[in-house]
C-alpha cells in the first residue's frame, strides 16, 4: 500500500487525473479551484502531457472537446461562474457522445456569489446546465481520498457511456488537506476508440465527430438517447447509507455537508434521536434506490450549503412526495449539528 501523504483536495484531483491516464488539461483561474491549474502548470510536463492556461473557460472546454474527439482522456476544471461558461462545450460533448471530465469546485451563490465553501451549483449540475436534451453523470466526493478515487471512476464512466462526467467538488474538499493514498499510474491508449479522429487513409472512410444525431442516429435518435439515459439511471446510482434502516428522520447530504451530517447522526443518536443519512455519491443519476432502505422514516431533511435547498425537489421525487422534506441550510457555512437536529425534529411535529 502506498504511503500516505498530506495533500490538498484540489491538488489530489489533479494528480489523480494524471494517474488515471489523462495527459490533457486546459483551464482558467478561478477561486477556489485554481490550485488544480497551478499544480498542473508544472506537473503535466513532468508526465509528458499537454497543459495550457486558456484565455477563458470557453476556450478551456472547447480545447477539451477537441482533445476528447482525438481520443485523449481530457479534463478541465472551474468553479461556479466559470462552470457556467463551460456549459456550451458540455452540451456539445454530450451531443457528440464524447467522454471528458469536468470538475466544478463549488462556491456559493449566483452571479459573483462568493468564493467560500458552498454547494451552489446543484441545480445546474444535475439538470444538464446547458441547452438541449442532456444530463451528465455527476459524482460528489466528500474527502480528499475520495477525490482521488472519483477521478479514476469519472474517466471510466465517461468512456463507458461516451459521455461527459462532472465531479462536483466544493471548496471545503478542494482547499482542505487530508492524508491520502495515491493510486498507481495507469496508461491511456489514445487509439483505443476507433471513432477518435487521427487522420484516415485514402481508401478508408473518414471519421466525423459531430452531433450523434447526424453521425449515427438520424432515424432512431430519441430511442438511442432514451436508452442511454435509462441505462445510466439504472446502473450508476451510487450512495452511502448510514444508520438509515431504523431512522425516524433521514438526512440527505453530499460533499462537505455530508461529513457534518454523518457526525450529526452520531450526536443525535447519543441523545436518543434516531437520525440516519443517505449520502448521494452520484447527484445524477440521483440515488432513488437508496430510499427504499428508509423503512422507519417519517421525514427527510437535506443538509446543504446554499439558500434555497436545491436538493429538496430530488428527495421529494425519490420519496414520491409521501413525506415532509425539510432543509437545513446555510449560506456561508455548513450548518451545525445542533441546528440540523433542531430542523429534523421540527419535521416530526
Amino acid at each position: 500500500m502506498a504511503e500516505k501523504v498530506l495533500m490538498k483536495g484540489n491538488e489530489a484531483l489533479a494528480e489523480a487525473a494524471l494517474r488515471a491516464g489523462s495527459r490533457f488539461y486546459s483551464g482558467y483561474p478561478i477561486t477556489p479551484q485554481t490550485e488544480i491549474l497551478e499544480y498542473l502548470s508544472t506537473r503535466m510536463a513532468e508526465v509528458g502531457g499537454f497543459f495550457v492556461q486558456a484565455e477563458s473557460e470557453l476556450c478551456g472546454i472547447n480545447m477539451v472537446f477537441g482533445a476528447a474527439a482525438a481520443g485523449a482522456r481530457a479534463f478541465t476544471t472551474s468553479s461556479g461562474p466559470g462552470y457556467s461558461l463551460k456549459q456550451e462545450g458540455i452540451s456539445y460533448l454530450a451531443a457528440n457522445d464524447l467522454p471528458a471530465v469536468i470538475i466544478d469546485v463549488m462556491r456559493i451563490g449566483s452571479g459573483l456569489g462568493d468564493i467560500f465553501m458552498g454547494q451552489g451549483d446543484y441545480w445546474q449540475l444535475t439538470r444538464g446546465g446547458g441547452h438541449g436534451d442532456y444530463r451528465t453523470i455527476v459524482l460528489a466526493p466528500n474527502s480528499v481520498q475520495e477525490n482521488v478515487e472519483t477521478v479514476q471512476l469519472a474517466f471510466d464512466l465517461a468512456e463507458k457511456y461516451l459521455h461527459p462526467v462532472i465531479i462536483a467538488s466544493d471548496a471545503g474538499i478542494g482547499q482542505m488537506m487530508e492524508p491520502v493514498e495515491l493510486p498507481d499510474f495507469k496508461d491511456h491508449d489514445i487509439n483505443k476508440f476507433d471513432w477518435a479522429v487521427r487522420g484516415c487513409k485514402e481508401d478508408e472512410p473518414m471519421r466525423a465527430c459531430q452531433n450523434i444525431y447526424y453521425a449515427k442516429h438520424s432515424t432512431d435518435y430519441p430511442e438511442y438517447l432514451t436508452k442511454k439515459y435509462n441505462d445510466i439511471e439504472e446502473n450508476e446510482q451510487r450512495w452511502e447509507s448510514y444508520q438509515v434502516e431504523d431512522a425516524e428522520v433521514v438526512l440527505v447530504a453530499y460533499g462537505s455537508s455530508s461529513r457534518v451530517a454523518k457526525d450529526t447522526v452520531d450526536t443525535a443518536r447519543e441523545q436518543g434521536f434516531k437520525l440516519g443519512l443517505i449520502r448521494p455519491i452520484t447527484l445524477w443519476p440521483f440515488p432513488k434506490k437508496a430510499f427504499a432502505e428508509a423503512k422507519a422514516a417519517k421525514a427527510f431533511c437535506t443538509v446543504e450549503v446554499n439558500i434555497l435547498g436545491q436538493m429538496v425537489d430530488d428527495v421529494k421525487l425519490a420519496t414520491e412526495g409521501k413525506f415532509p422534506v425539510g432543509f437545513a441550510g446555510n449560506f456561508f457555512a455548513i450548518p451545525d449539528p445542533d441546528e440540523i437536529i433542531a430542523t429534523a425534529k421540527a419535521l416530526l411535529k
Binding site: L6, M176, M177, E178, P179, D263
Partner: protein, 175 residues
C-alpha cells in the same frame, strides 16, 4: 478532537507551519485536516490556517472550539482569540505583542520571542518553527521528539536541508 489555528502576516509561514503540524499528526496515525484562508481573506496581508487532529473521522475542517492559537501578530490576536474555548492556549510572538496587550483572562498565554530567537539562530525565516517548538513543549498534542521528526521529514521531502530549521524548533521547545 484538537483544534488549532495558525495566524500571522503573509510570508511568515503560517500556512506551512500548519502543514508541518498536520503532517506530524498524520505520522502519529491521527486523522487530520488542514484548511487555509484564501482569496479575499488574504487581502491586507494576513493569513491563517486551521488544523484539526482526531482519533475519529473529522467531519468539518472548519474550527469551532479552538484549543490552540498561534498568533504571530496583533491582528491575529484580535481576530481569533474570541474563538478560543476557556482554558485554551494562545501562543504569541512577544516581540510584537506587548505584555499589556488586552487578552482574555480565561485562557493561558505563552509569550515567545520567536523572531528574536530565530534571528539569533541565524535563521530569520524560522520564527514559525520556534513557535511550533514552543507549542510542542507547552501542549500535549505531540512531544518535542515527534515534532522534530515530522519537521525533518517535511523538509527532506521538499528537498530542503537546513540544520538551522531544527535548531529553531529545539530552541522554541526550550521556551
Amino acid at each position: 478532537m484538537i483544534e488549532i489555528r495558525f495566524a500571522g502576516f503573509g510570508g511568515q509561514g503560517v500556512l506551512t507551519t500548519g502543514m508541518v503540524c498536520a503532517t506530524a499528526g498524520m505520522d502519529l496515525g491521527k486523522n487530520v485536516t488542514w484548511y487555509p484562508s484564501y482569496g479575499s481573506q488574504m487581502r491586507g496581508g494576513t493569513a491563517n490556517c486551521s488544523v484539526k487532529f482526531d482519533d475519529k473521522a473529522i467531519a468539518s475542517p472548519f474550527l469551532k472550539n479552538v484549543d490552540i492559537l498561534c498568533a504571530m501578530n496583533t491582528p491575529s490576536v484580535d481576530s481569533f482569540q474570541g474563538e478560543l474555548k476557556p482554558g485554551a492556549v494562545m501562543f504569541v510572538d512577544s516581540g510584537v505583542v506587548p505584555e499589556d496587550y488586552p487578552v482574555r483572562d480565561d485562557i493561558k498565554v505563552v509569550r515567545v520571542p520567536v523572531n528574536e530567537i530565530a534571528h539569533k539562530a541565524g535563521n530569520p525565516r524560522g520564527a514559525n518553527l520556534v513557535m511550533l517548538g514552543a507549542m510542542a513543549a507547552h501542549t500535549d498534542i505531540f512531544t518535542v521528539d515527534e515534532i522534530v521528526k515530522a519537521v525533518e521529514k517535511f523538509f527532506k521531502k521538499k528537498g530542503i536541508d537546513n540544520p538551522k530549521n531544527l535548531e529553531c524548533l529545539k530552541l522554541g521547545a526550550e521556551c
